[in-house]
């Protein structure tokens, strides 16, 4: 891949489509990143939390007398102190099938009556140092009365299960369905000549951002103004939720800053209780207060991901065409509704049940359940990996049951190619309209890279020699570029999901871009600068990207759902168009021509068909030193835009895993991993490939290594890196990646989003490959529970 450090030749698209090295990496790789924990304010204090040791317990008493007298202690607050403060809100209302709103029990800043999961916050201790705060927190005496608990979503929804919230019957937050009427789906299923049924668990995962959650809140009494530094993916959203819903502070009195953030994967979207509580405390103690999660605290209190119990059935006709899909899922929400906890198992999951297939009848039914566990919310992919897992596991299993090739079965059922321009988008049975797609293309490319025919021969030979080789396929689609406000608003979203972008041309022609997107690993400072530099015909060095500060950026919805480039990038492009339009008027005045006759290319405004031309920087200077200037034009060159997308974007792809399973030990070795992704147009291939690599690692992590393990008492038993198995570099082969480009028809960059694809497509490919290996050895196994540890695979082979 060619690289370009920003000093390249002056030609169109000098940067777009090139693997420009990331400008932010210099500070990250030399230890000069500035994270929230690096920020120390005058008179800084530090907080530690007293957290519940029990999954479900009545709080009989909290005695802070000893702790309060300990050295350095500034203040201690318990649930009683904040009983009048609102809890943190949920951002998305989902309704029961009968139309009544979901159950939304209070998610308090500190609990008063009872603790509902291990790690639930009971008290906050603030001291001069972190160590003093932690010592004093250990001296807070909590008397508990332990109550029975339930960690399993299905069991928690049964009559008689211990209640997480006394006012939520059967712990059910909502039941919900999407797709065709169930009678029609049942009828189609009954007509099928073959039905493949699969029951499985999509296990709970811990997000594990390398930077733990960290907040630093301060209050300026003179100006009655708050500043909150927060390790968040979306500072404006945090400000909105915290001000309007929790603390009742006007937004103009609060600045929220998210400086460098060390990974999020979804877990830093949400408005956490600690953010609001620290902000509240900063005013009460009159000093800034900071809290950084311990790693074991992160395991217990960062919102977790996935945790579905699912039964899925797919019906086929004689010809192998899918005639119906019926899915029933119990989704574990944890003890409280996190910010987007409600929409992940419903609107981000059910809406993807069409997959890449022409399935005519689909019904997905979800029961969302409270349990005595940490809250569950969006984690890289958020609902879409769960949907992909349902469909792609069913496809490979169905092919095996019907004794047909899994690849042929897919080709037979794929939606035919459509570009979304000359051909219309594809209307699914589950509420979405796909924008553009060429699903055959990615699978064909993947098969070529694999050498499919040769592989099947090698597999036969291996089986003959007593070795278990397997291949697994996953052809996925996702809904990204989240999200068109009118669509999500009608589905219950309580905020619009547009984006803001401001382009400020300085008098010297240098450009500052203010974006509402937030980079926490994605490389926006590079990708966005590539777009701006090309569109304005200037050097990348002359573009500075500003993000993550409500005090600088007009508005923003942040980064999640693979939305930054498709939505945030488009807002910037719209502002650039306004800059160019105004620049043409200025140039027309200077060149004594009509604005309609001015062309802008390669950084020069030129009168069409002449050599009369003015460079961009001169126009910028004229805008700020308007001695010779059109009468009807304002000085300055600075434009903002809000962009609300017309539709989601729909990246798709084909992931193929090749594994070898050790017959004696059940150990799975991943031999090859092929990823062909179509994320629309690509601005920086290196960054896209990096995103795919990271996502694939997390997806394989789910398949083979990771999983939160609760015991029956509701204790999270693997809340450390000694106990929770994170994938490591030597667990992976070098990925074989490729891209196909089907542009998005409804945004000017033609981009679809690449942040989550790897985590969405990869998991079922690996599990399918292990099962295929077992099948090649004659082991008729339908499912192995993830993660596929050696023990589980070995046990599956013994049956």
């Amino acid at each position: 891949m060619s690289t370009n450090n920003g000093n390249g030749a002056d030609a169109p698209n000098r940067f777009i489509g090139k693997s420009v090295k990331r400008v932010e990496d210099k500070r990250f790789t030399t230890g000069h990143g500035r994270y929230t924990d690096d920020i120390v304010l005058p008179h800084q204090t530090y907080a530690a939390f007293v957290r519940s040791q029990y999954a479900h317990a009545k709080i009989v008493s909290v005695n802070i007398t000893t702790a309060k007298a300990m050295p350095g202690v500034v203040a201690i607050y318990t649930g009683a102190h904040v009983a009048e403060v609102n809890g943190v809100p949920c951002g998305w209302q989902v309704n029961f099938k009968n139309g009544t709103p979901m159950k939304e029990p209070k998610h308090p800043l500190l609990v008063t009556d009872k603790a509902r999961h291990v790690g639930d916050a009971i008290a906050i201790v603030i001291a001069r140092s972190k160590e003093e705060a932690e010592d004093a927190a250990q001296a807070v005496e909590v008397k508990y009365e332990e109550l029975p608990c339930e960690i399993d979503a299905f069991k928690a929804a049964q009559p008689g299960a211990p209640l997480v919230h006394d006012d939520v019957p059967n712990n059910i937050c909502y039941d919900w369905a999407l797709g065709n009427p169930i009678d029609e789906v049942n009828a189609a299923m009954n007509s099928a000549s073959h039905v493949t049924t699969l029951e499985f668990v999509n296990q709970r995962l811990i997000p594990n951002a390398i930077e733990p959650r960290c907040y630093n809140a301060s209050y300026d009494r003179i100006h009655d103004h708050y500043t909150l530094y927060t390790s968040s993916q979306n500072p404006h959203v945090i400000r909105l939720l915290m001000c309007a819903f929790v603390l009742g502070i006007p937004e103009h009195k609060v600045r929220v800053v998210s400086p460098d953030v060390g990974g999020g994967f979804g877990s830093k979207i949400f408005h956490y209780t600690e953010e609001a509580l620290l902000t509240w405390c900063s005013k009460h103690i009159g000093r800034p207060v900071k809290w950084t999660a311990e790693r074991s605290e992160s395991f217990l209190t960062d919102a977790h991901g996935r945790d579905h119990i699912t039964k899925a059935e797919m019906g086929f006709d004689n010809d192998g065409k899918i005639v119906a899909l019926r899915v029933k899922t119990y989704a574990n929400l944890g003890a409280y509704l996190s910010t987007f906890g409600s929409c992940v198992p419903s609107y981000l999951h059910g809406t993807l049940m069409q997959g890449l297939y022409t399935t005519p009848k689909i019904n997905i039914d979800v029961t969302a359940v409270f349990t005595h566990t940490t809250a569950v919310d969006a984690y890289r992919g958020a609902g879409r990996p769960e949907a992909t897992y349902v469909l792609e596991r069913l496809m490979d299993l169905a092919a095996h049951e019907m004794k047909v090739d899994p690849v042929e079965l897919r080709f037979k059922n794929f939606i035919p190619p459509f570009d979304g321009v000359t051909q219309p988008g594809y209307q699914t049975q589950v509420a979405l309209q796909y924008d553009s797609g060429n699903y055959h293309g990615v699978l064909e490319k993947g098969l070529q890279m694999l050498g499919y025919d040769d592989f099947r021969k090698a597999q036969k030979e291996a089986a003959h020699n007593g070795k278990l080789l397997g291949v697994g396929f996953s052809t996925y689609i996702e809904a990204c570029g989240i999200a068109p406000s009118s669509v999500v608003g009608s589905l219950g979203a309580r905020a619009g999901l547009f984006e803001f972008g401001q382009v400020r041309v300085q008098p010297t022609g240098k450009v500052t871009v203010f974006t509402g997107s937030h980079s926490h690993g994605q490389g926006h400072e590079t990708t966005f600068a590539q777009v701006v530099a090309d569109k304005l015909g200037i050097s990348m060095d002359d573009v500075h990207i500003v993000h993550g500060d409500t005090g600088k950026i007009g508005f923003g919805m942040g980064t999640y759902g693979s939305r930054s480039l498709a939505v945030g990038g488009t807002a910037i492009v719209k502002s650039i168009e306004k800059i160019i339009e105004k620049g043409k008027k200025i140039a027309a005045h200077l060149l004594e021509a009509s604005a309609d006759d001015i062309d802008f290319a390669n950084g020069n405004f030129t009168v069409k068909g002449t050599d009369k031309s003015i460079p961009f920087a001169n126009i910028a200077l004229t805008a700020y030193v308007p001695h010779k200037y059109p009468d009807d034009l304002e000085p300055g060159l600075d434009f903002s835009s809000f962009y609300d997308p017309a539709n989601f974007t729909y990246p798709f792809g084909c992931h193929i895993a090749v594994v070898e399973v050790d017959k004696e030990t059940g150990k799975v070795t991943l031999k090859r991993f092929i990823a062909v992704d179509d994320v629309g147009n690509i601005i920086n291939p290196m960054i896209v490939e990096g995103q795919i690599h990271g996502g694939v690692a997390q997806g394989i992590g789910q398949a083979l290594f990771e999983g939160a393990e609760y015991d029956n008492n509701g204790q999270l038993t693997n809340a450390s890196y000694m106990d929770y198995c994170m994938p490591r570099a030597d667990d992976f082969p070098m990925y074989e990646t490729a891209t196909q480009i089907t542009p998005c028809p409804h945004n000017p960059l033609g981009v679809k989003g690449a942040g989550e694809a790897g985590a969405i497509g990869s998991t079922p490919a690996v599990v399918n490959a292990v099962l295929d290996a077992l099948w090649s050895g004659g082991h008729e196994v339908k499912d192995i529970r993830m993660p596929l540890t050696s023990e589980r695979v070995w046990r599956a082979m013994q049956n």
Partner: protein, 151 residues
């Protein structure tokens, strides 16, 4: 976590019973005890120093004997608190005569742990329990030998 153990000793039930009922002896037998104080007929306050894998700490709490059947057995209720988590256990202890000179000590119970002990120590709690159990019986043999030597 399940806590079970069986061990044959060369002593009569009555000798063993007297040892188990004696605060001094008991504090020498139970591994990790740094302080044992009788607070009632069948109850004690204790401080235990225990290290399980990466998690270690000083546990304070109560030991209570219930369902006492003279020379046959009792249930030991344990409620220990520490900064690394709480431990809660009910352990049934039985003295079973084997021959005139031999008795089997058997115990069977469940331990529930919370906090760091549960989230970081649980993986090795089983093997830690085996070590503690072994230590308990070793100490018991040792004390018995000492007593038999002096008597």
């Amino acid at each position: 976590m399940e806590l079970t153990g069986r061990h044959k000793v060369n002593a009569t039930p009555s000798t063993l019973w007297n040892m188990l009922m004696d605060t001094d002896t008991l504090s020498k037998i139970v591994p990790g005890i740094s302080k044992l104080e009788k607070t009632g007929d069948n109850s004690y306050k204790s401080i235990l120093e225990i290290k399980i894998g990466p998690v270690g700490g000083s546990f304070k709490g109560d030991l209570q004997m219930e369902n006492i059947e003279e020379q046959k057995g009792f249930t030991l209720k344990v409620q220990q608190n520490s900064s690394v988590g709480n431990a809660n256990a009910a352990i049934k202890i039985e003295l079973i005569p084997v021959t005139i000179e031999e008795t089997e000590v058997a115990f069977d119970g469940e331990v529930k742990v919370t906090g760091l002990l549960a989230s970081m120590g649980q993986r090795i709690l089983g093997s830690a329990a085996n070590v503690i159990t072994k230590q308990f019986f070793t100490n018991l043999d040792h004390e018995l030998a000492k007593q038999q030597a002096t008597s």
